[in-house]
């Protein structure tokens, strides 16, 4: 054991290299980089890799689809941060949002009703009013869908308020645990899905549409113009949510309640009002997400939201549960991962890929990429 000899036998260049690494203080430096810069860097690096691998087309698709997921993910994460439970019915909120728009915009709505009653069909509200345009510009849909979005958001927000008042608040007041309330939302999920199947039937449906060619952006990226538009709507709504959270009294009271509900109470913040506002925002975003996804995938079934819930929860956990910005970035990552994976494997494994990414990240950062709420 001749330490001096051993140290001397280490090559000089290796010692210099080691000294460099030590001086760089890598961990500290990485931590001091602002988060938005890291996100930008991550975006540029992954996009470059996508170009090198020739999957830039799928990458862009994934980003756009991810931005639709983000609408749902932000709702779930806000509800977790403020009302403190995992809202399992969020996927079915999205389905309901899509189906609420259906009788407004469809030229023919055939209602299956229940099996023993006569089926009947009627003209959707907007076509009945003479607003039955489809194929607006380069898009497959008409402007009627844009009218339907706020209406559906509004109705779903009212349904959410009703559920909060008559189900979730009652349970909270009786001292149910958060797990119990999450289970209750599971019940609500099944109830909503059952109601949708009962009224609209279980077959594949779609809003009125006509096929349109893909938009050639260049560099080998072709996207359906629909998806581009939907992505822009989704990102706009996310920015609006960001504005509400950061700069309005409603948003600040939401963040304060999420931070410290007891202190919020002694400051005179009405927690029940804050919870209501959270439901309104979450339900509005969910309704919009449902419609956008139904337009984007050109189909809707009563189970669609349930299937969407899985990648959306993955996005929420990936970004850090309770962190709205984490949910947004998490949704983009999950979207890209799912789409890009289809280049290399059967699309049936999309969800598996989403969860593998989530698990890998959680082993390194157990509280999600951006740190969540305790």
């Amino acid at each position: 054991m001749n330490l001096a000899n051993r140290i001397n036998s280490i090559p000089a260049y290796f010692k210099i290299l080691l000294g460099f690494i030590k001086n760089m203080n890598l961990a500290n430096r990485i931590n001091s980089i602002p988060a938005y810069f890291k996100i930008l860097l991550g975006f540029i690096i992954t996009l470059s890799i996508a170009f090198i691998l020739g999957v830039q087309d799928l990458y862009v698709h994934g980003m756009l689809i991810g931005s639709l997921f983000a609408l749902g993910a932000i709702g779930i994460t806000l509800l977790y941060a403020i009302v403190n439970f995992a809202h399992v019915a969020h996927g079915d909120f999205m389905t309901l949002g899509a189906f609420l728009a259906f009788p407004l915009v469809a030229s023919v709505v055939d209602v299956e009703y229940v099996s023993y009653a006569d089926d009947f069909a009627f003209t959707g509200l907007f076509p009945a009013l003479g607003l039955d345009q489809v194929g607006l510009g380069p898009f497959t849909f008409g402007f009627t869908i844009l009218l339907a979005i706020p209406i559906s958001m509004f109705i779903l927000a009212i349904i959410a308020i009703g559920l909060e008042k008559f189900v979730y608040r009652k349970l909270r007041l009786r001292g149910s645990s958060d797990v119990m309330i999450a289970m209750a939302s599971f019940g609500v999920a099944i109830l909503l899905r059952g109601a949708i199947s009962t009224i609209f039937g279980t077959q594949l449906r779609s809003y009125d549409r006509i096929s349109k060619p893909f938009l050639k952006i260049g560099w080998g990226i072709d996207v359906p113009p629909d998806l581009l538009f939907l992505g822009i709507v989704a990102v706009t709504l996310c920015l609006l949510t960001h504005y509400i959270l950061q700069y309005t009294k409603i948003g600040k009271s939401m963040r304060a309640t999420s931070d410290n509900p007891d202190l919020a109470m002694v400051t005179g913040i009405n927690i029940n009002k804050v919870i209501m506002n959270t439901w309104i925002i979450a339900a509005g975003l969910a309704a919009c997400a449902g419609i956008l996804i139904a337009v984007g995938s050109a189909q809707m079934v009563p189970q669609m939201g349930w299937k969407l819930l899985i990648p959306i929860f993955a996005a929420v956990v990936l970004g850090g549960v309770g962190n709205a910005y984490g949910a947004f970035i998490g949704a983009l990552i999950i979207g890209v991962a799912m789409e890009v994976s289809t280049e290399y494997m059967n699309p049936a494994y999309k969800l598996g890929v989403a969860f593998t990414i989530m698990l890998l990240v959680l082993t390194i950062k157990p509280r999600g990429l951006f740190g969540g709420k305790d």
């Binding site: 963040r255 304060a256 931070d259 007891d262």
Partner: protein, 243 residues
């Protein structure tokens, strides 16, 4: 000092959590511009008393009156929002800032129920505590323990209350910070607020108080001026760690 107006009168209050009664008839008076400290052993009901005065617990009997427009008015049925409106403010023992909100936003939350005049209030808080202005855009979780306490007091001061209730302001702070917290209390007192506090650090608190109350097992045991309580041999040996 005592010939000024009474602003809070707690009269023979019984209170507790559900079935468990903790206060068995406590009476306390606070006059304008006073600093009052309540001391007593752990579990004697100090925090319960604070919570009862601030309406977080409801008294089962007895009355709590507060001066509103020169009249003593019963307030034990007021909700939090109304208590803040009439000039009461409460700083909880721990977790008394919003950690992820910026310092400015924390102050804004102090004026949540009444937004007019908020900018001036924020400015006057920055004048009182310049360190808060320097860090106004930082999240509150980046403040040191003493600064955090400053922010908590400043938030409670935002609506210019008549009385601030402090639940153990020096709890959980490093010993060298305790003095600075009491200096902060002095600062807000000089800004024209009465202070009612519960404090473990009895000696430091009583030295700076006009009067003190000693509670034990949910009842009044003694009351006197701060200095007299400190010099009272019996109380010192029982509640101040002895000589």
């Amino acid at each position: 000092m005592n010939n000024s107006n009474k602003i809070l009168e707690v009269n023979n209050v019984f209170s507790g959590y559900g079935e468990i009664e903790i206060l068995h008839g406590v009476s306390i008076d606070v006059y304008e511009n006073e600093i009052i400290t309540i001391i007593g052993p752990n579990g004697c009901g100090k925090s319960t008393l604070m919570k009862t005065i601030f309406g977080l617990l409801r008294p089962t009997s007895g009355s709590i009156e507060f001066m509103i427009n020169n009249n003593m008015t019963p307030i034990h049925n007021y909700d939090t929002e109304n208590l803040i409106k009439i000039g009461l403010s409460y700083v909880p023992q721990s977790d008394n800032v919003f950690p992820s909100l910026s310092i400015r936003e924390n102050l804004e939350m102090g004026a949540f129920i009444k937004q007019e005049g908020m900018e001036e209030s924020i400015e006057s808080m920055y004048e009182l505590f310049p360190i808060l202005k320097d860090k106004k855009d930082d999240p509150a979780n980046q403040l040191s323990g003493g600064q955090r306490q400053m922010l908590a007091f400043a938030r409670a001061m935002m609506l210019k209350p008549k009385l601030i209730i402090l639940d153990e302001p020096s709890a959980g702070l490093a010993p060298n910070l305790v003095t600075s917290v009491f200096d902060t209390i002095k600062t807000i007192h000089e800004a024209g607020v009465s202070i009612l506090m519960v404090e473990q650090n009895a000696k430091a608190a009583l030295e700076r108080s006009n009067r003190g109350y000693v509670l034990a097992t949910g009842e009044n045991k003694a009351t006197d001026t701060g200095n007299k309580l400190l010099n009272n041999k019996e109380i010192a040996s029982l509640y101040l760690g002895g000589k």
